[in-house]
Assembly symmetry: C2
Homo-oligomer: 186 residues x 2
């Protein structure tokens, strides 16, 4: 029997189902195509709307309770001593996908994000999550081209499978922490 088909999850216009590692009634967490630092993930409401002000009180509560929950697992598995949590609320604040998303970036003393570099990266080209997702869509559209560029094709494909692997790993780690909170030892 084939595995159950996961409900398709979109981040703005982008299909991100394979990047998602945690879902709640109102929110989902996805790994980044191009993380700025290891463990850089995004937390989004299921409802695709650009601005924080458009979320209901329940959506806001669930979104940041999910940020907290995911932060705990990221802290453990990435050995983080701190985290940057950031919402670019609107295009003029640097938002590149018009769907509310909170960045969580695990930090350690002396890492590459030191000083303000983590923000430089987030605001720069490498932190443009919209651009990265568009590139993935383009790759997918080219997935059965007549004459694929093998180099680029294989680089991208590996990136997508790595991403899926990271999402599955984090999903397992989130479940491990959830079992521990319930006091179980399954």
């Amino acid at each position: 029997m084939p595995p159950p088909i996961a409900k398709a999850i979109h981040f703005g216009p982008f299909l991100v189902t394979s990047q998602v590692f945690h879902t709640t009634p109102f929110s989902f967490a996805l790994v980044n195509l191009k993380p700025l630092l290891p463990g850089h993930v995004l937390i989004c409401p299921h409802r695709s709307t650009p601005r924080l002000s458009q979320l209901t009180a329940a959506e806001i509560a669930d979104l940041f309770q999910t940020v907290q929950l995911v932060s705990r697992t990221l802290t453990r598995v990435y050995g983080a001593s701190a985290l940057n949590i950031s919402v670019q609320d609107g295009a003029d604040a640097g938002q590149s996908v018009a769907h509310v998303h909170a960045h969580i970036i695990p930090r350690r003393a002396g890492d590459e994000g030191g000083g303000d570099r983590v923000y430089d990266m987030m605001e720069g080209e490498q932190g443009d999550v919209g651009r990265a997702q568009r590139e993935l869509e383009e790759y997918r559209a080219r997935a059965r081209p007549r004459f694929p560029k093998l180099d680029e094709g294989s680089r991208r494909a590996r990136s997508e499978s790595e991403m899926r692997k990271e999402a599955e790993w984090l999903k397992g780690e989130m479940e491990k922490d959830a079992r521990e909170r319930r006091g179980g030892n399954v």
Copy 2:
């Protein structure tokens, strides 16, 4: 009769009662001593604890519902088209006061925070909220010195009174929005 004495509110070790413009059961909002851009404020839980992971689910929900509520008023009164919302969760993420605080920075197209400058400023010396508060405490400790430096004294004093004025103005604007939400026209 003297006005009722407001409950003292602390942000980390600092007394910030006169900077506070909004309180909820779990959170408070304060104006910044040295805003990076006009309308830059901080939202904190009443309970002074350094990390987001230490807050209860109710505290997290209230904190970010307050971020949303304050954001709406800031957007209106500062004519903002976007907002940066950011938590430096731990010292290695740039946190300068060990008491959870979410920065809200109103943004407009073409403002001084463009690109990554708003983050440069936040991470730099001018964004060090701890340092700014320490300087204010030092000023207060010198408030009745034998030979005050008049220049510095008057500059600081004006800054504190401006801050109090801004807090009172924002308090009024928050109340105006609250009345509107209730549909009243008091």
